[in-house]
Structures are given as C-alpha cells and as structure tokens.
Point group: C2
Chain length 576, copies 2
Amino acid sequence: MRKSSVKDWFPVLHWARGYNRSALSSDLTAAAVVTLLLIPQSLAYALLAGLPAVTGLYASMLPLVVYALMGTSPVLAAGPAALRSIMSLAAVGAVATVGSADFIAASLLLALLVGGLLLLMGALRMGFIVGFLSAPVLSGFVTASGLLIAMSQWPHLLGVPLRGSNLWVFVQSLWQQAGQWHALTLGVGLATLLALWAARRWLKAVLLRLGLNPAVADLVAKAAPLLVIVIAIGLTAALDWAAQGLAVLGSVPGGFPPFTLGAVIGVAPATVQALLLPALLIAMLTFVEQISIAQAFAAKRRERVDGDAEMRAMGAANIAAGLSGGHAVGASFSRSAVLHEGGARTPAAGLLTAWLLGTTALFFTPWLHQLPLAVLAATILMALGSLLDFGSFARTWRYSRADFAAQALTFGVTLLVDLVSGLTVGLIASLTLHIWRSSRPHIAVLGNVPGTEHYRNVLRHEVVTQPHILGLRVDESLFFANARFLEDRVNAEVVARPQLRHLVLQCTAVNDIDASALESLQSINQRLQDVGVQLHLSEVKGPVMDRLQRSDFLQQLSGGVFLTHHQAVAALSAGD
Amino acid sequence: MRKSSVKDWFPVLHWARGYNRSALSSDLTAAAVVTLLLIPQSLAYALLAGLPAVTGLYASMLPLVVYALMGTSPVLAAGPAALRSIMSLAAVGAVATVGSADFIAASLLLALLVGGLLLLMGALRMGFIVGFLSAPVLSGFVTASGLLIAMSQWPHLLGVPLRGSNLWVFVQSLWQQAGQWHALTLGVGLATLLALWAARRWLKAVLLRLGLNPAVADLVAKAAPLLVIVIAIGLTAALDWAAQGLAVLGSVPGGFPPFTLGAVIGVAPATVQALLLPALLIAMLTFVEQISIAQAFAAKRRERVDGDAEMRAMGAANIAAGLSGGHAVGASFSRSAVLHEGGARTPAAGLLTAWLLGTTALFFTPWLHQLPLAVLAATILMALGSLLDFGSFARTWRYSRADFAAQALTFGVTLLVDLVSGLTVGLIASLTLHIWRSSRPHIAVLGNVPGTEHYRNVLRHEVVTQPHILGLRVDESLFFANARFLEDRVNAEVVARPQLRHLVLQCTAVNDIDASALESLQSINQRLQDVGVQLHLSEVKGPVMDRLQRSDFLQQLSGGVFLTHHQAVAALSAGD
C-alpha cells in the first residue's frame, strides 16, 4: 500500500524507468522551443504581477522541476501565466505597496498559500471543486481580466504612471495624464506590437517561401518574440534610448533562485488572513485552467488525466515558487500547445526546460539591462487574444438568459470593482442560479392508463384517477434545495382535494434523499396524518430504501411502501 | 391587472370585507392570550439584543400592524424572537459598543436592512433562497445559538459582568469572575426558574383539580410568566432589593413608539457595509423560520401559504420596526402556537395584539421599574427548549455522515467563533456537499437486451455490446457541477476502447443542459472528432432539444440525433 501511494504522488517513478535516448531527444527539442517562448513571458508576467522581472525566471525554474516529478501530463507547461499574475497583483496590492519589500514577501506568501490549498485539496481528493465555477462565469471573468491586464500595460506603453485596478480608476487616471505621453516610449511600444503582429501573421509563410526547411521556419517564427527583444535591446543600447527617458528593465541579478522562506516568515498575520480568500480563488482558478488544458491535450493523445495528482503537483509547484523567490504559477495554454506540437513525450520536458532556463539565467541576465519595458508590455498585449472571448457572451445570451445574467454580472463586477469581487460574485451567481433551477423539481400527478398497470402524467395522457387516492411522481432526487417545494406542493394538492385519503409518492426518479429532504418527508407525513391522509411510497430504489431504514421514518410512515405504483393503487382502492 | 397586484401585496383587502363580529370575538380572545405572553418576552428579547427593554415593546407594535395588513397567515405571530435578538446583538456588537447611542442606531439600521432585503427578495419572488440552508445546518446553528443565548443570560443570573460572544470568551470570563457572584441575584433568578418550571409542569393540572373551568385554567397557566413578573416586581419594591444590589430594569419610558428615521440616517457608511452580510443571513434565517412555522400551521388548517407574500410582509414589518425604535423581528413559534390554539381566524388577531400591547405600554410601563433582570433572564432560559435539538445530531449521524459533518461544523463554528461565521460556514458546507454529491452523476454503459429494442446497464443485465459502438446513459441533468465529470468519463472510455468509432449518449434522464454542460458537450464532440470517433445523441427530450437548437452544437455535432437508442445502434451497425 505504502509504496503504491508514493508512486501515486510521484508519477515520475512510473515513467523514469522506461526513459531512453529517443524520449530524451523528443523532450529536449520541445523544451528548447518552450524556453524561447518562456524567457520573454516570464519577465513580462513578473512585471505584470508588480514584481522585479527576475522573479519571473525564478517562478519558472524550481516549480517546473517539482511539477515534472509530480504531474501526470507530459505536455502541461507549468509556470508564470498572465491571469495569475494580475490576480496576484490585485490581491497583494490590496495589502502592500507595489515595489516595497512587504509586497514581494506577500507575493511569495500568496504563492505558498495557493500551493498549500491546492496540495490540501489534492490530498483530500477535492477535484470536484472545479464544479463551483460555471463556464459562462469563468469566461466572463477571464475576458474582464484580459481587459484589466491590457489596461495595466498602458503606463508602460505611454510612459506615464497610470493606475488600473478597475475601469473607473483607469479612465480617471488616463484623463488626468492626457498630453504627458512619452513619444519615444509610445513609438517603441507600437513598433514592437507591429513587429510581433506581423511575425505571427506572416513570418512563417515568408520563411517557407524563402525556401527554409518547415521545421526551421516554425522554430524561427516561435522565437520571434525573443528575436524582437534581442533587437530592442540592441537598438536601446546603441542609441542610448534609456538616457532619453525610455524606461528599461535595469539590472537583473543573475544566478540561481534564492531560498526565500525567511522573507515570508516576517509577514504579519493580518496579511495572511487578508490573502486567504484571494488564495482560495486563485487556487480554484488555477486548477480549473490546468484541468481544462490537461484534458484537452490528453484527449488528443488518448491519455487519461488524474485530477487529484494534477492538483497536488501544481500545489507543490506553487510552494516551490514561494520558497525560491517566485510568484504564483499555473498552467500556460500557449506553452502547453508548443510542448504538444514540439513532440514532448514525458514530464522530463519540463525538467529540461528548467535546466535550459537556469543556464540562461546564470549567464545572460546582465544583457537584459537595456530591455525596454514598452517591449515587454507589447509582448503581454499580444498574448491576450486567448483570454478575450466576447463571442461567448452572444452564444450564452442565445442559449440561456439566466447563464448570461451570471456571465454579465461577473464581467461587470470584475471590470468595475476588482478581480476578487468579480470572481466571488460569479461563484455566488452560479450557485444561486443552480439552487433556483433545482428548487422547483418537476412533479407529475399520475393516473392509470386504462387496461394497463402503467401510470402517467394526467396532463399529458388519457388516464383515470380516483378522488381519494393521489399519485405524485417527483422527477428528481430530493435534497435541501427542493425539499420545501415538495412540502408546499403536497400541501396545495391536499387543500385542493377535500376527499383525499391516500397520497402515494412514486419514487422511480429519486436517486437520493438527503437529511433535509428526509425531514421534509417526516413533516409531510405528520401533517397529512393530522388531516386524516395516509402517506405511501412506491417503487423506492434499493440504495434509497437502505438509507431510509437507518432513520425512523419508515416506522412513523402512516401508510405503506409498495414495490410498484399499481400495487399501491390496487391495495388502497380495495381497502375502501 | 393593477388592482389584483395591490391585493396580492395587501391580503387584508381579501379578508377585511367578510370580517364580522364572530371573527372579531375569536381573534380578540387569541390576541389577549398572546399579549400576556408577549409582554415579558418582548422586554426580555430586547435586553437579549443589547437594547433598552422598551424597544421590545416598540418592536411588537407597528410591525404587528404591518404584518397583519400584508401577511397571509392568520396565526403567524410576528415580533421579537430569541434567535434574531442574539444575532442582532452579535452583528451590531461587532460595529458599536453595547449601550451606546451608536449601538441603538445600528440596531435600528439592521432591522431596516433585514426588512429591505426581505422586501426585495419577496418582490423578486426569491422564496427559493430557503433552499440554501439545509435542515442539519439549520438545526446545528439553532442549537448552538440556543446555548449562546443561555450563556448571555448568566451575567444577569449571577450578578457579574460576563462576556459571552463565544464559548471561549464565556468560559474565560466565568473563570475570572468566579467567587464574585451576587447571592440575592442568584437566589431571585433560581426561584424564578423554579417557579416557571413548576408552573409549566403542574399549574394547569392543579387548577383543574381545584375545580377551575378548563379554559380559565389554561389561561392562567399561559399567564404564569406574567404573574411571576408581577410577583417579582411586588417583592422587589416591598423589600427594597434594588438597594441591596439586585439589578432592575429601571425607568421605562411609556407611550407610543417614536419615529426613529433620524437616528438611522446618522450611521456611518462603513457600518452599513459591515451590517450587510449579517442582515442577509438574518433575512434568510427569518424567512426560513417564518415559512416553516406558517407551513406547519397552514397544513393543520388545510390552508395554503404564499411564500413571496410572507417574505414581503415580514420585510415591511422589519422596516416598520426600524422606523419605530424596534429591533429586527420575525415569526415566533410559541406565540403562533398560542394564536392557533386560541382560535385566531384572521390576521386581525395581530392588529388586536398590537392594540392591547399599545394600551399596556401607554399605562403600565412605570410599574416595570422594579422588575429584576434576573427574572427576565430566567424567562429567556425557560423559552430555550424549543431551540435546543441535540437529538437531531444523533439522527443525522445515523442517516448521513456527510450531512452530520456539515451540522457539526456549523454547530462548532457558531459556538466557538461567532454566529455570523457559523451560519456562513454552514451555508458553504451545505453547498459544497451538494456540489460534491452532484459532481459524480451515475453514468451507465448500455448494451442491447437480446431479441428486444431495450438497452440496459452492462453491469446489471445480460446484454450485448459492439466494440465500435459505445452507448452511455447519464442519469442526471447536465450542469456546471457535473459537466467536467462527463468529459473525464468519456475520455476514459475512449482510452479504454481503441476500436471505438461511435459514441451514443442516451439522454432519457437529462431534463436540462446548462451553458457549461453545452460547452463540455462541444469539447467532447471536438475531441472525439480529433481521434476519429463520432458523437451521437438519442432520446433527447423536447425542451432540451428546443434549447440545443438555439446553439450551434447540433450543426457541429459529428454524428446524428436519434429518436430512440435502438434506431441509433441499428443505423450505426448497418453503416459499418
């Protein structure tokens, strides 16, 4: 037992034995391409989280190693991602000033909290929590987040200090600073945007037409963001743009990640408490994203995903991030797609990515000094396409007005108030909607189909009923959200039928009766008895019956339990 | 249309026309008995809420009038109740010091907020919100509240200042003050408890044996708490106990309620915000209690209850309380039972109660000066029996461990942290439990019963399957909480069946597909298509089909939609 459980926690023990040169070659190729993409992204997402650029590199090393040891998906790329970075900024920005040592410590702490929660939920097999976030709420939230991320990059593009925690603040701040834009910064930013857009659109086709090998053309196209950065650094250094007011990254310490537990220990308990709700929301969102990405690629590869193992792996990766100077990490869709297309065969691809990135961090970080922030901002803006899904609003509106209401509410609150409120409101809206839908189960009055032993809804079929016997069929499991509706409906039927002496509940569609519904059944039984009506049950499923026998309901029941509805009606008709 | 809507809001317009001398006589008798009970209760519950005793009288006048005009139940007794008083104390105590003017203003505001929320939810027909609170969570919360109420009365019984916002605080405080108990106070308190207990147990029987008319004996027994109070006031005044340190009520201003909107307007916005969550919880709890009481008595009387009208009526009653110096009000089970037994026939009984109480308030309040607080504390303790339900824990444990966990958690957090946290945690636990239960719907693999057109679960029946066709039956509606489970299950089945070419989802048990589940179906369709498997649907219900037609899912669907599962299997077998 013990050994198998260790293997469950560390899937590396499954795949490492069969690892060979051919797998290494595939994994290394994929890792190399991902590293090209990861370098600019990791720097940009750290800045987005309000942190020094180097923390992005830190967040991409140890977490990748840990995920590779504990994760089950060969193509899932763990590390920094835009959505988590802006949520980290919003959550930590509420308790500390951006740029302060407290802010960095709180960001690390947030990663630890997210990691701890994911690890705990994974250990408790709580993968079902993804069920709390409905798809429309999620897309409303993610689209609004994408817009907030775009807003957060305007200061770097315009060269003015803007605030953008929500749409109001951003518009006010934009208005106040109008006319103070920095022309050189704006020019560099726009040029980068144009270059990235052109590269995405045409570079590969142009290279192919120039006669390049398709594989090489693809690689060059993928490396375009990195190439743009190299060119930008070169131009900035050569033309001394930094001296003309263009904001650059500044000195980035090289080398391996520091051990940062010390910084986290100093955080005030009040800060820990304030970060708990955001950490829970980020953890849920991280898992939802991760499982969606993992399932999408697993299906393509005819592989299975173990949700609990994935949760534990990402939890451990976040703890690794918090301990090695990085911010909260999650799964990146764009980099996972690259790993998949690049032919990654085992999670070792992640280990190799970490190694390649480590080498870069060790030797090349001094070169990043002259990297303009406007270039990184442009990189982020170009990556937002995958977050913005405006079409979803129209599709949801057509399909379900109630779902649309939840989606629009989430979108509005996220954009106009803040991220944490938006997701909280969305979660509450999903659940409220669900409770509302399930609070009114379909209940049919039954009548006998003449000449048969069948009973059908009186509203839809030509059936026969008797004034002193009422048959009701509840078309759903009974639980707390619909139990009172049943009480109300039974009461209404009894009021409308003065001659009634027997009520038979047909339970064919009842898969479960929870403790609240049991209490309602007891009330119904008691109240019916008070007015001289007996309550009977028919066609109760085995597991439901087993459970009822653990309560005293069956002893209290004024009537009987019948195998079939027909037996009930026959017995009760004969008795009179 | 307009006129009928006014009548919906004011049911008094229905029953007032037929009102006659006979109904008046019945209502007046019931009202008189309730007034006897209401006087001591209203004073005691005001003190419990941390307010001057007179606010209890205020909370019992205008709210009763308003409820009588807008409510539908003839026997529902609106007014002060223990549970709401302690919740009001807990919520308002968190934002203002007990005894200060701010505290009183915030208590009034809380009543207004509760009233506003109930009125809003009633107008929006949101009666389904009772569905959020499961029965075990509710009983766990109410039992813990009963214990907290008991703790809150110990200072009055012992004559020492104790704090009792939760169990820890109470035990600490009790320990610190041990040995400083005031003997006279304790003596008066215990004597009152004994007298009340004896009266409840034996008074009616003794009076009957003494040859009294049963109706009179019953009335005297019901008036016992009031008699005890009169005797206690007499003794305290005669023996000058107040001078010996026995705490008494002190001067209670007589006359009619003041108009208190002015006091509320001065409350700080931060306080309003802090009271919103408690107000929402109190509103939910008030409605749950009210609807349970109303339904219980309506069933006995073969009457119907209009949940939305009840919610609006109690909302307006709370607003009336807040504007006339009273605290939050709700339905009282004990007084409703008295109205029912007393023969109340219309909501006019409430109007008459208010009138009788108003007369009392106008003339007799000066006499209350010498009423010992220990006597009121004893009155409260005697009324707690209906709140404490320890048996429910054992019943729930036997019936469902998961429900028990939610109940125990709610009980523990309420008792050890505070009321608002307890109810919040309980609510979250109910919902989590429900999402967990519904996250794994029963999904059966189907096979053909040889020689028939029937398809059954392969695990339970002798059926025939084909390697390239898989039939799955989902035994529940598809929505956000179970949509991903279906994706996962389909993925697992596909991985296990390399020969698979067609997947047929039988939708007999699917009553609804929400937007999240639609998205999952689209993902499933897309992923299956990527690995060369077609997705088909069979036996889709009419309303579900109508809805699917409003999306582009049916155009994207790689397979077909079949009327019966057999048609699907026949067509797909023939095609190969």
